[in-house]
Subunit: 122 residues, 2 copies
Amino acid sequence: MYERKILPNLNCGLDLIGEVLYGKWKIRLLWFIDQGHQRPSELQRKIPDATRRVLNIQLKELEDHELITKKIYAVVPPKVEYSLTEFGKTVIPVIAALGMWGDENEERLRGVILKRLKSGNG
Amino acid sequence: MYERKILPNLNCGLDLIGEVLYGKWKIRLLWFIDQGHQRPSELQRKIPDATRRVLNIQLKELEDHELITKKIYAVVPPKVEYSLTEFGKTVIPVIAALGMWGDENEERLRGVILKRLKSGNG
DNA sequence: TCATATAGGGATAAAATTATCCCCTATTGC
DNA sequence: GCAATAGGGGATAATTTTATCCCTATATGA
């Protein structure tokens, strides 16, 4: 595994939530698990742009951070289900607030983001 | 400047807000500007772990995304002030929600983050 | 027998982000 | 003349994060 060379700041609430939510697919994973899509294959179908590998890694991080739990059924073919922990459930309203702001400002955001991308830098 | 090779997803509100808030220091920059710390040197003092260079780059992105404006005074030594746009102000409550969740769960978060860091991976 | 579904992981490459280093402007004050 | 102040940026290195590729296992159905 990759070992960090620069330790993260953990001074304030923003640092802390950043540590656990930072990751390209984590917020979506939490969101979809909350919506009832608990199995890895379902999550992969919901997030087709991510590879299985990356989703597994990010799910593991969410698990280590105690936002989700993983239940492995001893059956063949294998069955796995992720669920939000009680702790994990408390972060859903925050994610909802993020999504709501994004939705409310969808057109404007798409506009400024695309403008910046097209104007050369990124 | 760096030019992206993989275009970002811009499908839902979460994608969109992610594009404009993703960046190690952006949320703090918005926060401190909202608190009245408008000049680059002030912001640098508030965020000593970031180099001037990176702050400038991230401020430029926030400006391109229309969350802040930059006012340059024609004086010597130079004087610059950043302010939130009306649009930028609307994202502050969302950031507040993030920070609040982090603060409320400070101990637990610090615990799980440090545990994961110490156990080898990162 | 071979593909499919299900879940997983190691090794490595690529991409993206941050950090570091060094340089620039112009004026005031010593 | 030289340092300090306030702002800025190019080039490159380092770090971190994601993506790609290929491998494992077992049972079912064609």
